[in-house]
């Protein structure tokens, strides 16, 4: 069965009705890593948000199925419990909630949903310790409030850590590379690579080809003005890097309106 199957997905901003996603088609099978690239404002984060159930968007057309389930009918927490994980482009700071407590609550909520026994403090800390090593996360960060006062790199590593601990079936990584220096990027990427296991699917959103030197995708898609305008293998990313996004935006088969929309930015 396909992990994720998106068909002709249109979505708008709830507040003003402005359409951002204008007909997305995408299939991710188990074990596949897909990269989603595209200029700023093309709708990459919007797609990630709509898939993870963030309030504030309306789907006006199309569908998204996750392991055959109607994803769009599920509240955000059910999607997470069923195995969708979003690594946020801008992780949220939560003062007063310790990272460890938060993760343990999340893990046990998900385990309960899956019919697994909850982890006690000792088993959980063992798991956390193992995964923290994967992303080279210092212990002090685990005891601090979630993301509070974390550097940009620490926040992104914290996202990868959460992904490792929650063990999702489909991980969506929204610009996990942005704002990272090359060392931090390598750490984050090796954390992600350690989670490639032939079953887990990944949608790696990035603006730059750089990350894809470390996380080698099976497929690359280019989003422009709310549509996937080009798909290919990892070489497409290299080509993009060399020629720039303007190359894609000038290419057919993008529609006239898509080109105009992209050029306006």
């Amino acid at each position: 069965m396909n992990l994720l199957e998106i068909t002709n997905l249109h979505a708008s901003i709830e507040e003003d009705g402005h359409e951002i996603l204008k007909g997305i088609d995408l299939v991710i099978r188990p074990g596949e890593v897909h990269a989603l690239m595209g200029p700023n404002g093309s709708g990459k984060s919007t797609l990630a948000h709509v898939l993870s159930g963030r309030p504030g968007y309306v789907v006006t057309q199309g569908s998204a199925r996750f392991l055959g389930m109607d994803l769009l009918a599920m509240p955000a927490e059910m999607r997470a419990r069923e195995g969708i994980f979003l690594a946020f482009q801008y992780p949220v700071e939560i003062p007063g909630v310790s990272n460890t407590y938060f993760l343990r609550t999340a893990v046990n909520t998900v385990r309960k949903h899956r019919g697994q026994p909850e982890l006690d403090a000792i088993d959980f800390l063992a798991l956390l310790d193992e995964k923290a090593k994967l992303v080279e996360m210092e212990e002090t960060l685990l005891n601090r409030s979630v993301n509070e006062g974390f550097s940009g790199g620490e926040k992104k590593r914290n996202e990868v850590l959460q992904m490792a601990v929650l063990d999702p079936k489909l991980a969506i990584l929204d610009e996990t590379d942005s704002g990272l220096d090359i060392d931090a990027l390598r750490v984050a990427a090796s954390g992600v690579n350690a989670l490639r296991d032939g079953a887990r699917g990944m949608l790696v959103i990035t603006h730059y080809q750089r990350l894809l030197d470390y996380i080698i995708p099976d497929f690359v898609h280019v989003l422009s003005d709310g549509k996937i305008v080009k798909s290919g293998d990892k070489n497409l990313a290299k080509e993009l890097e060399a020629k720039g996004y303007s190359w894609i935006e000038k290419e057919p088969p993008a529609t006239a309106s898509a080109v105009a929309g992209a050029a306006a930015r």
């Binding site: 993870s52 159930g53 963030r54 309030p55 509240p75 955000a76 927490e77 997470a80 419990r81 994980f85 979003l86 946020f88 992780p91 949220v92 700071e93 939560i94 003062p95 007063g96 909630v97 938060f102 609550t105 999340a106 909520t109 998900v110 949903h113 409030s145 959460q162 929650l166």
Partner: protein, 460 residues
């Protein structure tokens, strides 16, 4: 101050109270000074009347529901029903105040239930007001009379009411150079009295004297089963040079309770205090704190967490009076309002002309969990010299929608996410408490307060 517009309910309430107070005073055999103090208390509260919302200090708190409700003063003897109910409620406090080493005085509906001497540090006196008034009233005469005289000038209705019914409470004396290691625990339990008649009213007076270089932690807990009751509690503290007071107040009387509490602390040179208030609501609750930083280099920290749900009103009033140079004050109050709950924060900082080098910081943050909850925040700075560092800030808002979504995206239900964020908001104040037992108790209490009190889950 205008009196003309006072509603009739406030008038009638006063007349009933004055009758009860006169009966009470007539029935007690007391030294003349005490009888005089009670009589002038009656005269003062009759003259003042219940404050109305036209009084600036009571603008956001309407006392009509209290004035309208009949309450009776219970006879001295504690019934079996009261005793049984009180022991059950005491048990809910769990570990706090129950270790054998902790000195404790427990009261039920204002009368002594039991005393556990614990390991009271040598020289420290921790006694019932009633005993002191019966055996050696001269020990408290000066302090009580002086405070009452001050009160007459400040026109404090509930203070005068407390004078009129002066009878029971706690007298604490900490000698010089003495550090009391065990927290001193004062527990008030209100229960149905098991008698016919109106619910009980309690007027209790605590008098603490700390000689120089002494220190102690005092925990006052007001517990109830949720039945109607009226508690008028007043704690007056004198801190000598370099003395240190930790004061923790737990107000947990339940949704039907009326509670008016007042803590005032006079600080000598170098004296410091920390006050922690945890107020979990009632029909009408008022928590007043007045910190008089009279001595040079004195300091005070004020922390408060107040929570109110539907049908409840919690008003927190604080006054920090910077009188002398180089005194510090830090204040953080947080309110959590749900349902139709109402909260008030009124925090005044006065910096007198002579109080140079004052450092005063005040923060009030309120969290609103429902569309019908409301909080009035009134921070006030009155600064009368230029050589000061003062800041204050007040914010009122909802839970952060991004944070709620972040938690949901990790699998937490909207209810769990909101509960966790609300808990995190309140727990900052719990973390400031020194005693691990009290922290653990409050963590449990705040958690228990949450789920039932969270508004309907957001739309999915």
């Amino acid at each position: 101050m205008t009196r003309a517009a006072r509603p009739t309910a406030l008038h009638e309430g006063v007349a009933t109270l004055a009758e009860a107070a006169a009966d009470f005073a007539a029935a007690r055999h007391s030294p003349p000074w005490l009888q005089k103090l009670r009589r002038s208390g009656i005269a003062a509260f009759e003259r003042l009347g219940f404050p109305s919302t036209y009084d600036e200090e009571w603008r956001f708190t309407n006392l009509a529901p209290l004035a309208r409700s009949p309450f009776s003063l219970l006879p001295d003897d504690v019934t079996l029903a009261e005793r049984t109910a009180a022991f059950e409620l005491e048990a809910r406090l769990g570990t706090i105040g129950f270790s054998a080493s902790e000195p404790r005085l427990s009261f039920v509906n204002g009368r002594l239930l039991r005393r556990s001497p614990g390991d009271l540090t040598a020289g420290v006196l921790f006694e019932c007001m009633k005993d002191v008034l019966a055996t050696s009233p001269e020990r408290v005469e000066r302090a009580l009379v002086a405070r009452a005289a001050e009160r007459d000038h400040s026109e404090h209705f509930f203070g005068s009411l407390g004078d009129a019914f002066l009878d029971e409470g706690v007298v604490l004396h900490v000698p010089a150079n003495t550090s009391v290691t065990e927290p001193l625990f004062i527990l008030h339990v209100s229960t149905p009295a098991g008698r016919a008649g109106a619910p009980s009213m309690v007027h209790t007076r605590n008098l603490f004297t700390f000689e120089e270089n002494s220190s102690a932690t005092v925990i006052e807990a007001y517990f109830g089963a949720g039945a109607p009751s009226f508690t008028n509690a007043r704690t007056e503290v004198d801190l000598g040079r370099n003395a240190r007071l930790h004061h923790i107040k737990l107000q947990l009387e339940g949704p039907e309770a009326f509670h008016v509490g007042h803590l005032s602390v006079a600080h000598a040179v170098g004296a410091t205090s920390a006050s922690h208030v945890f107020s979990f609501g009632g029909r009408l609750v008022r928590n007043e704190i007045a910190m008089d930083l009279a001595g040079e280099g004195a300091g005070t920290e004020l922390y408060g967490l107040f929570c109110a749900n539907s049908g409840q009103h919690v008003d927190c009033h604080t006054l920090i009076d910077h009188v002398s140079p180089r005194a510090n004050s830090v204040e953080l109050y947080k309110g959590v309002l749900d349902g139709t709950g109402r909260g008030v924060f009124d925090g005044k900082i006065v910096v007198r002309p002579g109080a140079v080098r004052t450092d005063a910081r005040q923060t009030n943050r309120n969290l609103i969990l429902s569309d019908s909850a409301l909080v009035d925040s009134k921070p006030q700075l009155e600064i009368h010299n230029n050589d000061v560092r003062c800041s204050h800030g007040s914010t009122t808002g909802r839970l952060d929608a991004d944070a709620v979504f972040y938690l949901r995206s990790r699998g937490l239900s909207p209810e769990a996410a909101r509960a966790l964020l609300t808990y995190a908001f309140g727990s900052e104040l719990i973390e400031k408490v020194g005693s691990a037992d009290v922290r653990a108790f409050l963590e449990g209490h705040l958690r228990a307060w949450l789920p039932a009190n969270l508004a309907a889950p957001e739309n999915r």
